[in-house]
Structures are given as structure tokens and as C-alpha cells.
């Protein structure tokens, strides 16, 4: 682990090795306290490997969502009293105040627990992010829309009715639309916060299958809504408890042979 002391600018420095080189995202010493005094994260240090699914699992309230939301600076929207540490993405510490968060959020997309479709048509939901970015080329947008809807396994179901309101879709379809909406911006990282928590098993299966395919091209960080999902999806897994990172290991190992007692207790269902 490279000590972070030399980095006063946060710009790529040719001489020193950057933290987490070779990984998509490197989190170093992240600590976060909310305005109401609640401590959410304490000194979290974690590498997120590229082109793989990293699962953040643990009991509710442990800080997993906060950790996830830090990766695209979405915690800027909440009242945070204290935030320290670094998050290295593409050679830059994204926690620095001079970060272009708009560009960051296009490269690090997020799918939320409840499908939130904007009050517009399916097509407009898809092109919304592109239009925010100033994209004008209608043809290119149409191509991206179809491409992303296919990647989210939704194209066949909506191809004929893109101009209908997005709320006319079922819950599972809406969530896949939210995934497609992120993909259309051609991100590098996809964050998913319990994306299948309200969905029936069939829709859940479709989403999970999509993610397995998507990891070839994207880096995926997933907060699962059950330990079974964690076990199904994880290439790498991190156990988060009370704001601290307890253990990180490949998916194969952590659920069968956890090294920390607390991880073992959680995996075996003794608490949570």
C-alpha cells in the first residue's frame, strides 16, 4: 500500500506510484461522519479490481451504501460533517474539491434500490443523461439507446413502445431501464445498491445475468440484498460492519472459509 503523504495536488505524478494502480478504484483511509454525529465509515481501505464484480456485504446500517455513494460523490447531497481519506479513480483523488463531479458521475454510474424512472417516456429516460451532457446527434443517441437496452436485457420487451411513459413498465422492467439508463452514458464503473430488493425472482435473475455479462466491459460494485445474492455474484467480496472493513477476499473463499470470526458469524447467520 503506497503511503498517501506525498500527494498534495492529487494530479497524476510521474515519479510516485499511485495507490491501487492496476485497480479501477482505490479507497484509502475513508472516514465519514454525518452532521447528526453518526459515524458511518471509519478508516476504510479497499481496492476495487477492474472488470469484476466486487460485493460489499454486511448487516444493515453498516455503511455499505455510504461507501458505495462515496464512489460517485453522491454523498455531496447529504449533510456530512466530516469526510477524510482518498478515493483514487483514473489517477486522481475524486474527493478533492476541484474534481469535476459531473464528469465523474457519467463515468461512475449508479442504480438505486427502488427503481426510479423519471416522469417521462422510456426513450426520454434513456436520452436524459445524454442530453444533460449536451449530446445532440439524434442518430447516435438512438443507437446508444438500443445498444444499452439490449445490454440490460430489456430491448425485446420495449422496442415497440419507447414513447410510452416509463411508469407503464413493471417493477423489474423499470429497474432494468435504470440499468440501461446508466449504460447509455458509457461509464467505466457501475454501482448498484441492492438493485433487486423489490423484484421478483425472475426479474432478479435477469438482472444478475446481465451483470455477469457486463463485468467483461465494466467494473461493478454491488451491495447485495441477501447473502445468497452476495455468494452468487461476488468475484471479490468485502465484509463491512459498523463502518469498518473487516475482511476482503475472493468470493470463493469468503463465504466458505472466512478468516475473521465476525465474518464467519454473519455468513452463518448468527447475527444480521
Amino acid at each position: 500500500m503506497v503511503a498517501a503523504t506525498a500527494h498534495s495536488e492529487g494530479a497524476p505524478m510521474a515519479a510516485a506510484r499511485l495507490p491501487g494502480e492496476g485497480h479501477a478504484i482505490a479507497i484509502r483511509g475513508l472516514s465519514l461522519v454525518y452532521s447528526d454525529g453518526k459515524e458511518s465509515l471509519r478508516d476504510v481501505t479497499l481496492d476495487i479490481p477492474a472488470h469484476a464484480i466486487t460485493v460489499l456485504f454486511g448487516p444493515a446500517g453498516g455503511g455499505k451504501s455510504t461507501l458505495l455513494r462515496s464512489l460517485n460523490r453522491l454523498n455531496d447531497l447529504t449533510d456530512v460533517r466530516h469526510l477524510s481519506g482518498q478515493i483514487w479513480f483514473d489517477g486522481r483523488d475524486i474527493l478533492r474539491p476541484d474534481t469535476d463531479v459531473i464528469a465523474l458521475r457519467r463515468r461512475v454510474g449508479m442504480v438505486f434500490a427502488r427503481p426510479v424512472v423519471l416522469p417521462m417516456t422510456i426513450r426520454q429516460n434513456m436520452t436524459y443523461g445524454l442530453e444533460l451532457a449536451g449530446e445532440r446527434d439524434r442518430q447516435r443517441m438512438e443507437q446508444l439507446v438500443e445498444h444499452s437496452l439490449r445490454a440490460a436485457a430489456l430491448w425485446e420487451e420495449v422496442a415497440g413502445r419507447l414513447d410510452q411513459p416509463a411508469v407503464s413498465l413493471s417493477g423489474g422492467q423499470q429497474q432494468r431501464l435504470c440499468l440501461a439508463r446508466v449504460l447509455v452514458l458509457e461509464p467505466e464503473v457501475i454501482l448498484l445498491d441492492e438493485p433487486t430488493s423489490g423484484l421478483d425472482p425472475l426479474s432478479t435473475g435477469k438482472v444478475e445475468a446481465s451483470l455477469h455479462e457486463l463485468k467483461e466491459r465494466y467494473t461493478i460494485v454491488l451491495v447485495p440484498h441477501s447473502i445468497q445474492q452476495a455468494a452468487r455474484m461476488a468475484d471479490h467480496a468485502a465484509f463491512v460492519l459498523n463502518g469498518q472493513l473487516i475482511e476482503v477476499a475472493p468470493g470463493r473463499e469468503i463465504f466458505t472459509r472466512p478468516r475473521d470470526r465476525r465474518t464467519q458469524d454473519y455468513v452463518e447467520g448468527r447475527f444480521g
Binding site: 458521475r105 438505486f112 444533460l132
Partner: protein
């Protein structure tokens, strides 16, 4: 299980309670119905094409009330032009940008206080500031400014509530897709809040249209031989006209008084109906 007699008594108490609530509701509805019915019944005979399109003659005792109708329309329009941009902008600031601070709390207290000021005080304020100090004179302009300030609190509070009722998740999604706060507001929040804002605007303007005291010293004239041609002209207006012909004109036919009241009532209630239609159409089309 409770004895049947006990259950019967409980049901009886519940029915009595509901009956009492229904009676209370009807009591509140009765005055409205009576007022509207009485005014329209007495005033309908006076309504005629001449009444609506001709100026008054013979010291108001004959003819029509066209200048007053037009004057009220001008004043309402002027109030809207002045109050809506500032009111909606303030609402957007308070709902979307303002942090919780002593400064913001002060602003809110100011707006609430503005709502509590008696309308005649607005009239005097308008007289002092717009008519005299800024030298607008008794004019549509001075009247519109005065009415606009009076209408601001209504517009700000209903617009702010409309904005707040847009689900927060929409904003979060828009931000997470790389939107700025302003893009989020202009593309998602404001369009969704528009029906609610519109309803508030219509209701605010409806109130401004019917007020007498604010225009008493700032815009209204007893009688003008010509229609106003510029915002700096004074004007006749329905509320003031009604006041004048009911109290200052001896031998005024009662029929015409009721007719004037009926026109004003229809104008104001019409706006009310419009606001309700806007609101229910928006609810039906809501996509969330």
C-alpha cells in the same frame, strides 16, 4: 367478544359522530351557496350585452360597467406579470437552494409576515411608495405593484410546496446521471411542479382581482371618461366600482349593484374553477 348491546351502542355513537361532522360541513357550505345564489339571482336581470360592453351613463345609474371590467383585467394582468416571476424564483430558491440558516429563517418570517398585513395597509403603503414617492401617480402601474406585493406570499408558499412535493428521488437520479442542480430543476422538478405552481398563481391572482383596499388609493378612479391607454393612467375597477355605486351614488338602481357584484363573483369564481381544473388534470396525468 363484547356483548351485542355494547357493540350496538358503539356503532350508534360512531354514526352520531359522523352525522355531526356531516352537519358541520353542510353548515360551512351553506353560506357560500347562499351568497352565490343570492347575488346571481338578483344580479342576473342586469346582465346584458349592453351592461358588459358599455361605459356607465347618467352618473353610473345607467349603461354598463365595461371600464371597470377592463380595469380589473388590466390590474390582474399587471399583478401577474410582476408577482409571478419574482414569486416563483423565490420559491425555487427556498425549495432547492437555500441552506438551513438564520438568513433563510429570516426570509421565511418576512414572507409569512407579508401575508398577515391588512390589505388597507398595503393600500397606504402603495400610496406612499408608488403613487407619491416614485411618482407613478394613481395608475394601473401603482395598483399592480401594490397588488403584486400583496400576492407574493401566496404564490411563494404554494409554489414552494409544489416544488417540495416532487419526489426527492427524481433529483437524486438526475444528479447521479451527471446533471447540475439547475439542469435537474429546469428539466425535471419545475415541469413536474408546474401544475401546482399554476394553481397557486391563479388563486393568488383571484384574490388580487377582488380586493378593494389596495387599489383604493393607488389605481382606482370614481369615473373616467375614457378608457386607460397606458399603465400610468388610472382606471376603474370592479371591486371599487361596486363600493362606489353602493355607497356614494344616491338613487342607484339596486339591480345594477347586484349586476356588478355578479360580474365580479363570476370572474373570481371562474378563476377558481380554472385552478381546480388545472389541478385535477395534472393529477390525472401524473406519472408517479
Amino acid at each position: 367478544m363484547a356483548a351485542p348491546a355494547l357493540s350496538r351502542r358503539r356503532y350508534a355513537v360512531q354514526r352520531a359522530g359522523f352525522a355531526g361532522l356531516l352537519a358541520a360541513t353542510l353548515v360551512t357550505v351553506v353560506p357560500i351557496v347562499l351568497i352565490v345564489a343570492l347575488i346571481l339571482w338578483q344580479g342576473a336581470p342586469a346582465i346584458s350585452p349592453e351592461f358588459l360592453t358599455q361605459p356607465p351613463r347618467q352618473g353610473m345609474r345607467e349603461g354598463g360597467i365595461l371600464p371597470a371590467i377592463l380595469g380589473t383585467l388590466w390590474l390582474t394582468l399587471g399583478t401577474g406579470i410582476l408577482a409571478v416571476p419574482f414569486g416563483v424564483a423565490a420559491a425555487i430558491y427556498l425549495a432547492e437552494y437555500a441552506p438551513e440558516s438564520r438568513w433563510t429563517r429570516t426570509i421565511r418570517v418576512a414572507i409569512i409576515s407579508l401575508a398577515g398585513i391588512p390589505s388597507v395597509v398595503y393600500g397606504l403603503f402603495g400610496l406612499g411608495l408608488f403613487v407619491l414617492f416614485l411618482r407613478f401617480g394613481t395608475s394601473i402601474l401603482a395598483g399592480s405593484f401594490t397588488l403584486a406585493i400583496m400576492t407574493l406570499p401566496v404564490i411563494i408558499s404554494t409554489a414552494e410546496e409544489a416544488l417540495r412535493s416532487v419526489p426527492h428521488s427524481f433529483r437524486v437520479v438526475s444528479i447521479s446521471l451527471g446533471g447540475t442542480q439547475w439542469q435537474t430543476i429546469s428539466r425535471v422538478v419545475l415541469p413536474e411542479a408546474l401544475p401546482g405552481i399554476l394553481t397557486g398563481v391563479i388563486l393568488g391572482l383571484e384574490r388580487a382581482a377582488g380586493e378593494t383596499a389596495p387599489i383604493l388609493f393607488t389605481a382606482a378612479a370614481f369615473f373616467l371618461p375614457r378608457l386607460p391607454t397606458s399603465p400610468l393612467d388610472a382606471t376603474m375597477a370592479l371591486p371599487y366600482h361596486l363600493f362606489v355605486i353602493s355607497t356614494q351614488v344616491p338613487g342607484m338602481p339596486l339591480r345594477l349593484q347586484y349586476g356588478t357584484a355578479a360580474v365580479l363573483l363570476v370572474f373570481v369564481l371562474g378563476m377558481n374553477v380554472l385552478a381546480t381544473l388545472v389541478r385535477s388534470r395534472a393529477r390525472a396525468r401524473r406519472q408517479w
